[in-house]
């Protein structure tokens, strides 16, 4: 019970009032009268009883507000769109207790015990309220919950529970899972294919049962054997949650190490020629250089303005070619971690890149398959814009080495180990292999299961492995122009179930 001036805003009278009610009003003289009670005492006793009961009834039901059960759902539903880790408008995050207590750009969000001095209450009330921005205002009940919570001291009774469904890998699939990435071991004996959340390893030359390696990623985007064949990298993540890479030992399927990077999946990339680093595209426009050594730090090259869809090391390991959803192809330096040149602007998204050291190659939805002569493209400098638009001094026409236009959007590119052959897959059924020196077509596979999303070549380009959205994986002998289908399989068990009733 408080002494001093009753501002009328705090429920100070209730304890006194209820006591009065309980005792009738005979007991009032034993209590320290607040000014309110002193004023009331001049009135008739029955009037005091009415007032007291009114106060009692109106305030007694304010039971303690639970942050976890009542306040957090309000934040989650109305505020987290803009005030969360990925996007913290006004510097304010509400999805983390420490950040909540710290506040944002305009200071602390609330003053414990003082709702009227609290920024939160000021923002959600008013005519019209500032927050939630561009949304209907909070209902009076929700505003009251927040007000009561602050008034009661803004206590956090428990951390909010955020439920994210776990990764589920069916033993048997109801629908053949789409193949997102494939890789051949350097000796050409082992094939690795990625289907949704697992990697499947199988022998190219025999029919031994495939081995399945589970990951904790919702989606694997890239799988690749290291140049020495001793490691298998699987990259991907869970969309809008985290990205990561896991290194497996292909011999026994055991995990060697894993790293998490960023808050969205990683995209395609490549091992460095020395096999110590894997470079992968990130959703924030950066290339992430992730060392195999779990203790070494991850480096990033901030490059593009949208997702980096694919990255390739040059054979000398000194430069990276990257293609992005921002429709550009860029070359950057491994040592300086900086952009060297933006060498191409395509009309559409770039899906895949490759390089043989002489040319950088990129292709995407615009159907063009383009090579760019490194020497000419990187000669001279012409910085435009804010610096991120460093353009080659040479005219694009001078360093462009275009291949023939592809029939559909290009999905994947793969270099043979010796960099002499380039495999190209599109949404169409035809898969082609080109010679990188003269850009002539060498091999054509007329009818692969379309759309072919992933392709890999062995060291000398005599074996081609492809994976399709249909779930099929095929191995071809591509030694001659007329490729021979050696193997076709769906790498995981599939038993079409009845349509799920619920």
């Amino acid at each position: 019970m408080k002494h001093g001036l009753n501002t009328g805003k705090e429920p100070i009278g209730w304890s006194v009032g209820c006591t009065m009610h309980g005792l009738g009003y005979r007991g009032v003289h034993h209590l320290q009268p607040s000014p309110l009670i002193r004023v009331l005492s001049v009135f008739h006793p029955w009037l005091k009883a009415v007032f007291a009961l009114l106060l009692c009834v109106s305030t007694a039901r304010a039971a303690d507000v639970s942050y976890q059960r009542e306040v957090w759902p309000i934040f989650k539903r109305h505020c987290l769109g803009c005030h969360t880790e990925g996007k913290a408008k006004g510097g304010l995050r509400l999805d983390d207790i420490a950040a909540l207590k710290k506040g944002g750009k305009h200071g602390a969000l609330f003053v414990a015990g003082k709702p009227d001095k609290s920024l939160l209450m000021q923002q959600v009330t008013g005519d019209p309220p500032e927050m939630p921005e561009n949304e209907p205002p909070l209902t009076a009940e929700k505003v009251k919950i927040l007000r009561d919570w602050i008034a009661q001291g803004a206590k956090i009774d428990a951390a909010p529970k955020v439920e994210r469904p776990p990764v589920v890998i069916p033993a048997t699939y109801a629908f053949a899972p789409s193949v997102t990435s494939v890789s051949l071991s350097p000796d050409g004996k082992l094939a690795a294919v990625a289907v949704r959340s697992e990697v499947v390893l199988f022998n190219v030359d025999d029919d031994a049962p495939p081995r399945r390696l589970a990951t904790d990623f919702d989606l694997i985007t890239h799988v690749e054997f290291s140049p020495d064949g001793k490691r298998l990298g699987a990259a991907g993540g869970s969309p809008q949650q985290f990205g990561g890479v896991i290194f497996f030992d292909p011999a026994d399927g055991k995990r060697q190490s894993s790293r998490r990077v960023g808050n969205d999946t990683l995209f395609k990339g490549s091992f460095s020629p020395d096999g110590q680093t894997i470079a992968l595209g990130g959703s924030g426009g950066a290339i992430h250089l992730i060392p195999v050594d779990a203790k070494a730090e991850v480096k990033a090259i901030d490059l593009h303005s949208d997702w980096v869809m694919a990255v390739a090391y040059t054979p000398d390991g000194k430069q990276l070619v990257s293609g992005s959803r921002d429709k550009t192809t860029k070359v950057s330096s491994v040592e300086s971690l900086k952009l060297l040149r933006s060498i191409d602007q395509s009309p559409d998204i770039i899906n895949a890149v490759a390089t043989d050291g002489t040319n950088a190659i990129s292709a995407g939805n615009a159907r063009a398959l383009n090579g760019f002569d490194f020497k000419l493209a990187l000669a001279g400098v012409e910085v435009t814009g804010s610096g991120n638009g460093a353009r080659p001094a040479n005219n694009r026409d001078q360093y462009l080495r275009a291949y023939e236009t592809q029939p559909e959007a290009v999905m994947a590119l793969a270099m043979s180990g010796d960099r002499k052959l380039l495999a190209v897959t599109t949404r169409a059924a035809e898969v082609r292999v080109y010679q990188t020196d003269n850009r002539q077509r060498k091999v054509a596979i007329a009818k692969a299961p379309a759309p072919v999303q992933a392709v890999a070549l062995n060291q000398d380009g005599t074996r081609l492995l492809l994976g399709s959205k249909t779930g099929e994986v095929q191995v071809y002998d591509t030694a001659t122009a007329a490729a021979k289908l050696l193997k076709t399989l769906v790498p995981v068990p599939v038993a079409p179930a009845r349509a799920a009733a619920r």
Binding site: W46, A49, R77, L80, P132, V162, D218, P239, Q241
Partner: protein, 856 residues
């Protein structure tokens, strides 16, 4: 627990709440009473309780019992899909003629729960094949519904187009502000409002290695996690966990996120029930939306339809089609489902406290339909305006300037019973009538030196004036205009086409002016408010695509000199959505077979002006109506659509029919309108019509248009205005276009003629106008001028009464009332012998009053 049925279960309808006894205060007082020791307190409490109870009783409305039986819709039902229950709407009508909705409070029982179950909210869920009878009880009455369940042997899988696309619309995913935006949001793009399922399917299921859905772990699908708000989503929480939208999409993903077979039945129509409701204040009404497919099947889509209310003052509607009446009046309830609209009419009437309907006149078709509607709404019209106010209103509306004092006095003194009719006919014979209506057409046709040469503007103006002067029938007017070609020397009306930038411009301008529709939106996607598609847009485009303008070789060096050419060889325009040619198609109609090598505009103009064309006469009649009232019968007048229905359809239909029967005679139409009692009503409301701003029960005051205000000001003060950019001696109504220097006219909203929209003319009021009147030169210089009216009147050495009367007559076109004379005399007396100054100040005051700036 079936989430599908939870939606309406959660609605705690309170349709009978007003019949419940007062709750909290009585209980509170009762508890006090029991606890109080003093008998005096007991007495006080007893009195308080009785008082409160009495209050409650007196607030309850007089009982209006149900007449007849309950109507349950549908009365019989066949269910063929486990995931598609059907709702029941339970209604009855009271003796007083109100519709009452019992859906929220009725009880429902199934005779065989193994065949069909029904929820407390009236949703019927199929369980197994067979028949059952549902018993519905409300308000002591019973009704029965027969249900047949015919489920296929295999459960029907979820369909992308029939199930998921509506979810994307209902969840707001494909709104223009979100993923329906032309560039998408955050890399995810859907077609606007579900325009193209063929494009939306790969966006959801294919892009970026299928990251948005996971068929093998549906709950982990990105698209679900974001819509649920379980992952940060700037668009907010769109699905509730376990709710209908969430479950529909999750199930579809779990079943493999399959595309539809090409044989999937397509959506054909959507109907809303009930189509018309007459409700009590504070009533609640549940609406039901039923879709029909090309295989004849019916489906209740109330929970995925999108409901809106046109007049928010009258009612509001929630997510599942429950409407609550909030005020007296009328509104359309508009439901949208997969690009098809359905509209219901919702009227909220006051309680019938002995309303006496007005006898329906038969002598004027306008009054006949207006009074019929007013009687339905329990509104009595106000009295007719007095002679002076009628004359001023008709004068400004017909000839663009208020009457002079001698006209006013003569009219008031005239004792003939048909003097108002005669005045209307006389106005139509005046030169000013031609000025005023030529000005109007000049605005609509955008005659302007911005786009046309000087000689072309004046030639076009003369052509319009000649048409108005001889009362050229409107169908001929439109046909001549729409088929003109050449330069102004060949045909002045060819200027109409010379104004356009390109065919799109011509199409949009001409459909807005001659059909009253806004086609612009349909250029790129299905129209958001009406059933126009790009096929309709490019169908009209193909009528006008032969026209091109080029500089006139006979007028080299003349700015903007153009000639209009018609290339008869031009084929059909291409619809960019299909990349195929779109043959000429009548707006909302069929595609005629036209010979090659003809001017396609002729066929279009013939179709447009034929007597049964649904657009031309109707939109023109509605537009002309709006020039004499504060709004059209449909509003806005150049954005006509089924989602904005007419406030009085029989009136519009009758006027249109009459207009066509009189061979599109514009003067006849005006005469019918202006001679009606509806037009001549006073603006003073009575006790029944104060809330009515839509049914013409009383005149709503409106501001004088810019030119009328200026010309009236000039006439009242006798001081002319000089307009830069126009021939000397022209008054405001005679100006050739908007390219004149006049701050006054700009301030009061004279259109620049850059748009075909009626809205280009601003008839609103704002602070700048008020300040200009108070401080600006327009009035001040005029009243203080040595040749101004006050000076002229002072020279006549009139006595106080005559002077005051003349000042009122000149300024406000009426005589002052006795109180006003007394006030004015006191005002004059205060100036002593500075009589001239007093007269100036007084006239200044009159011209600044609302009596001058408004028609009322």
């Amino acid at each position: 627990m079936n989430p599908i049925l939870n939606h309406r279960n959660a609605m705690n309808t309170e349709s009978n709440k007003h019949l419940q006894p007062a709750s909290c205060p009585s209980v509170f007082i009762a508890s006090l009473w029991l606890n109080s020791p003093s008998s005096r307190m007991k007495t006080f409490l007893a009195v308080t309780c009785a008082f409160l109870a009495a209050l409650r009783l007196s607030a309850a409305p007089a009982p209006d019992p149900i007449a007849g039986d309950l109507t349950v819709t549908p009365s019989s039902l066949t269910l063929v899909h486990t995931e598609r229950p059907h709702s029941l709407v339970v209604m009855a009508r009271t003796k007083g003629g109100y519709d009452v909705d019992f859906t929220g409070s009725a009880t429902f029982r199934s005779s065989n729960e193994k065949v069909a179950r029904v929820t407390p909210a009236g949703w019927v869920q199929p369980v197994a094949n067979g028949s059952a009878t549902l018993t519905v009880q409300a308000s002591g009455k019973t009704a029965k519904v027969s249900v047949t369940v015919q489920l296929p042997a295999e459960p029907t899988p979820a369909s992308f187009r029939q199930d998921v696309m509506p979810v994307l619309s209902k969840g707001g995913c494909n709104m223009g502000a979100c993923h329906g935006y032309s560039l998408g949001k955050n890399g995810f793009k859907l077609t606007l409002r579900g325009a193209d399922a063929d494009k939306d399917y790969p966006a959801l299921t294919d892009e970026f290695m299928e990251r948005r859905i996971n068929r093998h772990n549906p709950a982990a699908s990105l698209v679900l996690l974001k819509a649920l708000g379980d992952l940060p989503h700037e668009g907010g929480v769109r699905f509730d966990h376990g709710g209908l939208l969430h479950e529909t999409m999750r199930r579809w993903i779990a079943e493999g996120a399959r595309d539809d077979a090409p044989t999937l039945p397509t959506l054909v129509s959507v109907t809303i029930y009930p189509e018309k409701v007459v409700a009590m204040p504070r009533a609640r009404q549940q609406f039901q939306l039923v879709a029909k497919y090309s295989d004849g099947s019916l489906r209740d889509v109330s929970r995925t339809g999108i409901f809106t209310v046109n007049t928010e003052r009258v009612a509001r509607v929630d997510e599942v089609g429950l409407v609550v009446a909030t005020d007296l009046g009328e509104t359309a309830i508009v439901a949208r489902y997969e690009g098809i609209f359905a509209v219901a009419n919702f009227i909220v009437l006051p309680p019938n406290k002995g309303f006496q309907p007005t006898p329906v006149p038969t002598d004027n078709l306008v009054d006949r339909h207006i009074i019929t509607k007013l009687n339905d709404l329990r509104i009595r019209p106000s009295d007719l305006a007095d002679d002076e106010r009628f004359l001023r209103r008709a004068s400004v509306d017909l000839i663009g300037v208020q009457p002079k004092p001698e006209e006013v006095l003569a009219f008031v003194a005239d004792t003939s019973t048909d003097k108002r009719e005669k005045a209307i006919a006389a106005f139509m014979k005046r030169n000013e009538f031609v000025d005023w209506w030529s000005l109007k057409w000049g605005d609509l046709l955008q005659n302007s030196r911005n786009t046309l040469s000087d000689p072309a503007v004046y030639a076009f103006r003369e052509w319009i004036r000649a048409a108005v002067a001889r009362n050229l029938p409107m169908d001929e007017f439109a046909r001549e205009l729409l088929t003109a070609r050449g330069s102004f020397a060949d045909h002045p009306a060819a200027a109409y086409f010379a104004v356009s930038k390109d065919t799109d411009d011509t199409l949009q301008r001409s459909t807005q002016v001659f059909a009253g529709v806004r086609m612009l939106c349909a250029k790129c996607h299905p129209h958001p408010f009406e059933q126009w598609t790009q096929a309709d847009y490019y169908g009209v485009h193909s009528f006008f695509n032969q026209v091109a303008t080029k500089p006139d070789p006979r007028q080299t060096g003349v700015q903007n000199a153009k000639t209009v050419l018609v290339n008869l060889a031009t084929g059909s325009s291409t619809n960019p959505r299909t990349n195929k040619p779109q043959p000429p198609r009548y707006l909302g109609g069929s595609e005629p077979k036209l010979e090659a090598g003809v001017d396609k505009r002729e066929d279009y103009a013939r179709w447009l002006t034929s007597p049964d064309n649904p657009h031309f006469a109707r939109s023109l009649v509605n537009r002309v109506w709006s020039y004499f009232f504060h709004r059209g019968i449909m509003d806005p007048v150049d954005d006509l659509r089924s989602t904005s229905p007419p406030i009085n359809a029989p009136l519009l239909d009758a006027l249109t029919k009459d207009f066509v029967e009189h061979k599109f005679d514009l003067r006849h139409l005006m005469q019918v309108i202006v001679s009606s009692r509806a037009y001549q009503r006073s603006s003073v409301p009575n006790d029944t019509n104060g809330h009515d701003d839509a049914n013409f029960s009383h005149a709503i005051p409106r501001r004088l248009p810019a030119e009328a205000m200026l010309d009236s000001l000039v006439q009242a003060t006798g001081v002319k205005e000089n307009f830069g950019g126009a021939p000397a001696g022209f008054n405001a109504a005679q100006l050739p276009d908007g390219n004149v220097q006049s701050d006054f006219l700009t301030l009061f909203g004279k259109p620049q003629r850059m748009e075909a929209c009626e809205c280009e003319r601003d008839l609103g009021a704002n602070m700048l106008q008020a300040l200009h009147f108070i401080n600006g030169k327009s009035i001040l210089d005029r009243v203080t001028s040595a040749s101004g009216r006050p000076a002229l009147l002072i020279q006549q050495k009139l006595d106080d009464d005559k002077l005051i009367e003349q000042l009122y007559l000149w300024s406000l076109a009426r005589k002052p009332a006795a109180k006003e004379v007394a006030l004015a005399k006191k005002f004059m007396a205060a100036y002593g012998d500075k009589r001239a100054e007093a007269a100036q100040d007084f006239m200044w005051g009159l011209l600044n009053s609302r009596d001058f700036t408004l028609l009322h």
